[in-house]
């Protein structure tokens, strides 16, 4: 088969491309590999001794893993903010950025799945979840919905860029009739993955901190702020270190997306704070714990009081055109916004859901070194996957990598 031959050659060529590079590139990949190895070592300890090596307990039963999972679903969903203008609205500006965005989505999804597996007590019986072989509690369990949407989104985000790159690799134009329907689906799908992930928490009557109608929309807003913010930073790096051309216009447009999403996110934050603190009820205790601490237990205070000022500062900086159009300010804003949302929508969301417990018990959570090691390892895995994908994509797009026949 001709296509198979092309595919074989593509794999060979991309291996060639990804194993060669500057000294800095090798240092970067070496560093990531080291981090992954450390993560794997930590995970092996966890496999051996069980989840007791983490900081999680019966009182706070989800921690750093699920926090990062939640946040990364948002990053993955954000790729849609680039897909839509490019493929659907035919705004050609984003075309270069969109492959990067989709690569980022793939890396984020792989990290998501890795975090979920790291959090499982029995990874060896994970096949119980596979529909057909195991028992899939669909549609009752939101977790099964999440499994479907995440894997579906991963599939879409692998196939679309692969099709485009595969065509370009052979020096052919990609047919829009093939990939535009896929792009359309992915737009709705991206909203779905984040909404479904929010529903995972939102649907629990046991946890009043999560059980509010704003959680889903707020997930979307913060995702569309943090995700594209990361894409801007990545594009900035790619622009500096590779011959891949990303125009200022593209970055400015994405910055606009980030700004609007960050503003909406801030409005929703204010709405949430108003509800929790204007007329506090028994159900506001988790928010009290998060922002002010309860009965002298205040482990999250430094984090949330880092996140909120960063969030506000970034949103204010982005709001002014003059500041936003200054790339130094833009990159700085994107960076602090990313950090702020990682805190706020990571353990700032997950941990207070468990504190106070169902009967008011306040038991705090602190991740252990092993947990942090695994987490860093998974982040390194994501960065590693993304670097490989991006390097191949860039080589094809810049015409360096072509099928020779």
């Amino acid at each position: 088969m001709g296509r198979l031959k092309v595919f074989k050659s593509l794999v060979k060529d991309s291996l060639d491309v990804t194993t060669r590079g500057s000294k800095k590139y090798h240092l970067w990949m070496g560093f990531l590999t080291l981090m992954m190895l450390i993560g794997m070592y930590c995970y092996s300890i966890q496999l051996e001794h069980g989840l007791s090596v983490t900081g999680m307990t019966d009182r706070v039963s989800w921690g750093l893993y699920i926090s990062n999972f939640t946040f990364l679903v948002g990053v993955a969903a954000a790729a849609v903010m680039l897909v839509m203008p490019t493929y659907v609205l035919k705004d050609i500006d984003f075309k270069q950025a969109v492959l990067i965005g989709e690569g980022l989505a793939v890396a984020a999804l792989i990290m998501c799945l890795a975090f979920v597996i790291a959090d499982m007590g029995g990874p060896s019986v994970l096949w119980h979840m596979i529909p057909g072989i195991g028992v899939f509690n669909f549609p009752n369990s939101m977790l099964t919905w999440d499994v479907i949407v995440l894997n579906g989104y991963l599939f879409i985000n692998i196939t679309i860029p692969f099709y485009i790159l595969f065509r370009h690799y052979q020096g052919k134009e990609s047919k829009s009739s093939v990939y535009v329907p896929g792009a359309f689906i992915s737009v709705f799908w991206a909203v779905a993955i984040h909404l479904v992930t929010a529903f995972l928490y939102q649907g629990l009557q046991a946890r009043p901190f999560w059980n509010n109608a704003l959680l889903g929309p707020r997930f979307l807003a913060s995702a569309f702020a943090a995700g594209p913010a990361l894409i801007i930073l990545v594009l900035a790096v790619i622009r500096t270190y590779t011959s891949f051309k990303v125009e200022d216009k593209t970055i400015k447009k994405i910055a606009m997306v980030v700004t609007v999403a960050a503003q909406i996110n801030l409005i929703m934050l204010i709405s949430e704070l108003f509800k929790e603190f204007y007329a506090p009820t028994h159900h506001s205790e988790s928010a009290y714990y998060l922002f002010f601490g309860l009965h002298g237990k205040d482990a999250l205070l430094p984090w949330i009081w880092t996140a909120i000022p960063l969030n506000v500062l970034a949103t204010v900086l982005l709001t002014f055109h003059k500041l936003r159009n200054n790339f130094k300010v833009l990159f700085f804003s994107c960076f602090i916004l990313f950090i702020a949302i990682w805190i706020e929508k990571g353990f700032g969301l997950i941990v207070p859901g468990f504190i106070p417990g169902p009967y008011g018990k306040i038991a705090e959570y602190l991740p252990t070194g092993i947990e942090i090691g695994v987490t860093l390892g998974i982040w390194a895995l994501g960065a590693f996957v993304f670097t490989i994908l991006a390097k191949t994509a860039i080589s094809i797009e810049t015409g360096k990598l072509r099928y020779k026949n």
Partner: protein, 359 residues
Amino acid sequence: MGSNKKKWFSLNLSNNKPNGTSCGCGKSSDGCGSHNPTPNKDERTKDGFEQVFDVKMSRRTAFKQLAASLAIGAGAVSTSCSIIAGDESKEKAQIDWEEQFKGNYKLMSDDEKKATVDRLVRSYQLRTGKTLNMSSKNAEKDVLFGYAFNISKCQGYMDCVSACVEENNQDRNSQMQYIRIHEMKDGKGFNFNEADDNYYHEVPAEGHFYMGTQCFHCDNPPCVEVCPVQATWREDDGLVVVDYDWCVGCRYCMAACPYDGRRFNWSKPEVPEEEINKNQHYLGNRMRKKGVMEKCTFCVQRSRVGKNPACVEACPTGARIFGNLLDPNSTIRWVLENKKVFRLKEDLGTEPKFWYFMD
């Protein structure tokens, strides 16, 4: 119950616990109404579960072939194929293999249930040389278990906790306990926020009252809804149970439970060999493994043969009442009909089968 019994973690301060009998009436046998055993009816064939996926065998065989290349089974394969391995280790490997790839207990036929129980018993025999008794008894017809807790009577002795831990083979290292006794201040009402569920002093403490919580076996259990693999479900007699071998350990049920009723095995649960309760039920107190959920089952191994759960039997004050809600002559029915009962967090719509009342 005895002064020689103590909480697993206790500092041995409570050695002047009253030497009560198993009931507040002062009798250890029946007669006060708190001992009402559930009638032991004839066993029947199980019909309650919808055997939607009634293809267990073929699925299992299919998966075996699929998984042959997986590393999970590699050890078992190498052992079972090895020529030097003895018959016993071969049998052990065979059991491990079948246990690893068996189906969900909820969907098993009675024969399959019996087969897995036999395998587990045999496996224990091979490993330790000792026998144990494991049941796969199904729910009986016209039985719906319910529980009532007399707040006026409970003095916080925590004999129920000790009895529960012993009966249900809970992990000793992590001091896992299904029951929590909340010590509350008089005059503050049911203020869980200020209650202490981990006290180490002599009871009853002056100016305090006590309230126990455990799994309430909700009729509309949120934990069951959220489980992605149906590893936890509500049995026909109302017990909410877990298939420890099917659970993947995602702990979603734990997040969903409004009553702190679920526990997770963060490390490998360990019980000293001589303390293991060998009278077991597949869904109840059989040995768990690390990384799976477990919970109170109203002592399914006892309640399904007409006995009271260990906590009810151990309570020296008679604060705990258990029985069949469908039996109009049961004590639990008498309590529900004659006392002012209430339940916790009724607004959540979970319909617990656990009532509180006062004298």
